[in-house]
């Protein structure tokens, strides 16, 4: 019934409007900074979707999926937090801890068949992320410490721990500070022969999205989380253990972020470098906001961000536009998403000028 239309008018339309508006403004910025938006965007689309694979180069679209995978998993985790009114800004740190744990299991544990080792390594990442987030969750639940602040602090601690481990205890015997390679049995395999990199993580991500849908719309836990998020006082009155819910939600959120870390390292790196992501955790907050808590929306948002991340390189190559323009696009997007009113008012003032003319044409 009207649910679908509500989704459309309630969230989808504004989100799409935001994206278009953002692309427009970023285009303006390019013009101002003296580069050609048309060329840039078409190169972006080329590099993100259209360029076919060759012997020496993976298919553009598959690469977009590869980039979208961590975004999707992370954004799901962050959205989970939002649902309960928790702001998990610590996704990045949980990502790091997840990666650290699964890589450790990946190379320290030896001689297991893949169907045990791989799940084990993944599980390690999930658990690590879960525990790391649970620190903030526990502090929120028992000490009312605002997770907005604690998760940020935990990020820095996570960087330090990973860096210490990779430079110290877990360092391999090469020049570059990194861990040894994980055992083949712990590798999350690719779906296609090289140079393609598309890997099973994609399906894990999709599975996570489906799971998210069921959790939120079909399970009692999901409803419980939403109730706590919308009115924690009423939730308490109704016999829901609010603090426990905070803890659980934060743990689940962290589990997903940890999974994202595990997938990245087990599928792509197959070892742990010091710097293995730059701001996935933060970009994913934007993805989550754009996705508006709806798994389909989140998936689409992740695809969009993945496409931008993937297309950026080729855009710079062929249009010579610094790929940091992407950050600008993303910045505009979430501002409009955060305050749909702004986008609306901008568009309306536009429409206002545009519609009458169209009406006249109609008469003619």
């Amino acid at each position: 019934m009207s649910a679908r239309r509500l989704f459309w008018f309630g969230s989808a339309a504004p989100a799409i409007a935001s994206v278009l508006l953002a692309l427009l403004l970023a285009g303006l910025v390019m013009v101002i900074t003296g580069s050609d938006p048309i060329a840039a965007y078409s190169a972006l689309v080329q590099g993100a979707f259209l360029r076919p694979g060759t012997a020496t180069r993976p298919t553009a679209f598959f690469e977009t999926l590869v980039s979208a995978t961590p975004y999707l998993i992370l954004a799901l985790g962050i959205s989970l937090g939002f649902a309960a009114g928790l702001f998990n800004i610590g996704a990045e740190g949980q990502l790091y801890m997840g990666a650290l744990a699964s890589v450790s299991v990946g190379f320290l544990v030896k001689g297991l068949p893949w169907f045990i080792h791989l799940p084990l390594a993944l599980a390690a990442g999930v658990v690590a992320g879960m525990l790391w987030a649970s620190i903030a969750g526990w502090l929120k639940a028992t000490r009312e410490a605002p997770e907005v602040v604690t998760t940020i602090m935990l990020n820095y601690i996570a960087y330090a721990v990973v860096n210490y481990m990779v430079n110290g205890p877990l360092r391999h015997t090469g020049t570059a500070p990194r861990t040894p390679d994980i055992e083949p049995s712990a590798v999350l395999p690719t779906l296609l022969p090289p140079p393609e990199r598309l890997h099973w993580g994609l399906f894990l991500a999709i599975a996570a999205a489906v799971g998210y849908y069921f959790l939120m719309n079909r399970s009692t836990l999901g409803l419980r989380i939403r109730l706590v998020g919308e009115n924690r006082h009423a939730a308490r009155y109704a016999g829901i253990n609010v603090n426990q819910t905070y803890l659980i939600t934060m743990a689940l959120s962290g589990a997903l972020c940890g999974l994202a870390g595990a997938v990245e390292v087990l599928a792509l790196y197959r070892y742990l470098p010091t710097e293995f992501t730059v701001g996935y955790g933060f970009d994913s907050i934007a993805v989550a906001l754009l996705g508006q808590g709806n798994p389909v929306g989140i998936a689409l948002a992740a695809l969009l961000f993945g496409a931008m991340a993937n297309g950026a390189g080729y855009m710079q190559f062929s249009a010579g536009v610094s790929n940091y323009i992407i950050a600008v696009v993303q910045a505009f997007i979430i501002v409009f998403v955060a305050a749909p009113g702004i986008a609306r008012d901008l568009l309306v003032s536009w429409w206002a000028r545009w519609l009458p003319r169209r009406a006249k044409e109609g008469e003619a």
Binding site: R218, S219, L227, N231, A234, A235, Y237, A238, G239, I240
Partner: protein, 507 residues
């Protein structure tokens, strides 16, 4: 007594789904007390909020001292010499009395606060009108009665010529009401004109020079105490003769269901709110707790229902002690709770009605199985309750926020009565609800009793307590100061108990 100082002409105000004021004419003469009488939701507050600039009317004009005025904001209203004591107080708890009074009308050079001189004026006003108050006390430490004085001082400090009092007596004991009336008369003598909002007939008869009655946003008539009597006013208010008594058979109290032992509870401000309270409620009886708001009733209820941890004492349900601060335990033990604050506790505004009707049970069969929700059952159940309790809603999936206050409250009642229950704790069950719903809710509560449930009723409305209860406990300053049999008790003695006056010879 003379020429009209204020005329409101043809005022109309619509809210989503409600016509709060429907072409209202209302006038006020200099130096008179004009009572505005009406049921909950009649539109009294809305009309006054328009006069005070908080709302803009959709239609109509306001004339003040013979000039047409448009009042955009309270700022304008204040400038025009209008003062208002709001139904829900507007004092900042963390600020001192003086700071509250001068807020918005501060004096002092270069924006630096001058507190000394205002302090003097406050003391002066207090003297003139018999409104003693310590100008340096923090508002949060003052009893409600005194807070109201601060509100009035606030208005006088701004030289209000017209003073609006929105249900000022709701929070006062009968004696305090008398004092308030003294003050009002003193003001009138000084030429202040007063609009006195209430739905309590006796008070209106006692204080008003003129009475205008509102019903469902319309003026149903104007009269004076001389030519009207309570019964007449009542039927004007409600639109039909009201039966002030709920007819119910005498109770057959069964075994003890709820027993509270020596309960001690702190308020949010870490003050003792409930001080060693003990009582019992038996199956099949309604025990009413009377008392002026703020004497610990809320904390008592929260402690019993597990929303607040008592510092001492036990709550036993059917002989089993309930763990502290664990609503779930109380619910599972068969306790239902109609909360005092519907919006904070009673409902999750944006969730569908169906969810709100299963708020505390959705996780268990038949509504859920193996952790999965069974929406079909949940919706069926919702549709059933909507029929049974005649909740006015398009369908069970609309957000409960979109329902009218009365229907929201009915939904809460429906939810709480739809579970097998041993004890019903009903706090202000009919607050802000139209009279039709009041009667309906009262009937349901009595039904629950007759079905063998124990009922603990907490209400600030003495009439509600008197008409509904089988036994009446009176709370004052965190203590239970008296117990009466509802059949023999009189308003007067309960009123005295509410002020802590224990009459000799009383049980």
């Amino acid at each position: 007594m003379g020429e009209p100082i204020l005329q409101m002409r043809n005022i109309t105000k619509r809210f989503p789904g409600v016509l709060a004021n429907d072409h209202i004419f209302f006038d006020l003469n200099r130096g008179e007390i004009h009572a505005l009488l009406g049921e909950n939701g009649a539109g009294k507050t809305t009309l006054m909020n328009i006069f005070y600039g908080l709302y803009q009317p959709d239609e109509g004009e306001i004339w003040l001292n013979g000039r047409r005025v448009t009042i955009h904001s309270p700022k304008d209203a204040i400038a025009l010499g209008i003062g208002m004591v709001h139904q829900h107080f507007t004092l900042v708890p963390t600020l001192s009395v003086t700071e509250n009074v001068i807020l918005g009308a501060e004096t002092g050079r270069f924006g630096v606060l001058d507190l000394a001189q205002p302090r003097q004026r406050i003391l002066a006003i207090a003297r003139d009108y018999g409104l003693e108050v310590d100008p340096d006390a923090l508002v949060k430490d003052l009893p409600v009665g005194v807070q109201q004085r601060v509100e009035i001082i606030k208005a006088l400090y701004r030289n209000a010529q017209v003073l609006i009092l929105d249900e000022p007596t709701a929070v006062l004991t009968p004696l305090e009401v008398e004092r308030l009336f003294e003050t009002l008369r003193a003001m009138v003598r000084r030429g202040v004109s007063i609009i006195f909002i209430s739905h309590k007939l006796k008070e209106v008869m006692a204080i008003a020079d003129r009475i205008t009655v509102l019903r469902q946003g319309r003026v149903v008539g104007s009269t004076t105490p001389a030519e009207a009597d309570e019964a007449k006013l009542a039927s004007m208010m409600v639109g039909r003769p009201v039966m002030l008594q709920v007819e119910k058979l005498p109770a057959q109290p069964g075994e003890v269901v709820l027993s509270v032992r020596d309960l001690r509870v702190m308020s949010d401000r870490r003050a003792v709110a409930v001080d060693g309270v003990s009582f019992e409620v038996r199956a099949g009886e309604i025990v009413g707790i009377a008392g002026v708001e703020g004497n610990g009733q809320s904390e008592l209820v929260e402690a019993i229902t597990g929303l607040r941890a008592p510092v001492h004492g036990t709550v036993m349900l059917c002989g089993q002690p309930l763990p502290h601060a664990l609503p779930r335990a109380a619910i599972d033990a068969g306790m239902s709770h109609i909360p005092e604050d519907r919006h904070k506790y009673g409902m999750v505004a944006q969730q569908p009605l169906a969810v709100n009707l299963t708020l505390s049970t959705f996780h268990q069969p038949p509504f859920a199985q193996r952790g999965l929700l069974r929406w079909v059952t949940i919706r069926e159940h919702a549709r059933r309750l909507i029929r049974e309790f005649d909740i006015r809603a398009p369908h069970e999936l609309v957000p409960i926020a979109s329902l009218s206050g009365g229907n929201q409250q009915k939904s809460v009642v429906a939810r709480e009565l739809s579970r097998p229950l041993k004890l019903l704790v009903a706090a202000q069950p009919t607050r802000g609800v139209d009279v039709g719903s009041i009667e309906f809710i009262h009937k349901r509560i009595v039904q629950a009793r007759d079905a063998g449930a124990a009922v603990l009723l907490v209400s600030a409305e003495l009439d509600e307590i008197m008409s509904l209860s089988d036994r009446i406990l009176v709370m004052f300053k965190g203590h239970i100061v008296g117990e009466r049999d509802a059949r023999t008790a009189t308003r007067e003695e309960i009123g005295l108990l509410m002020m802590g006056r224990v009459k000799e010879g009383a049980a």
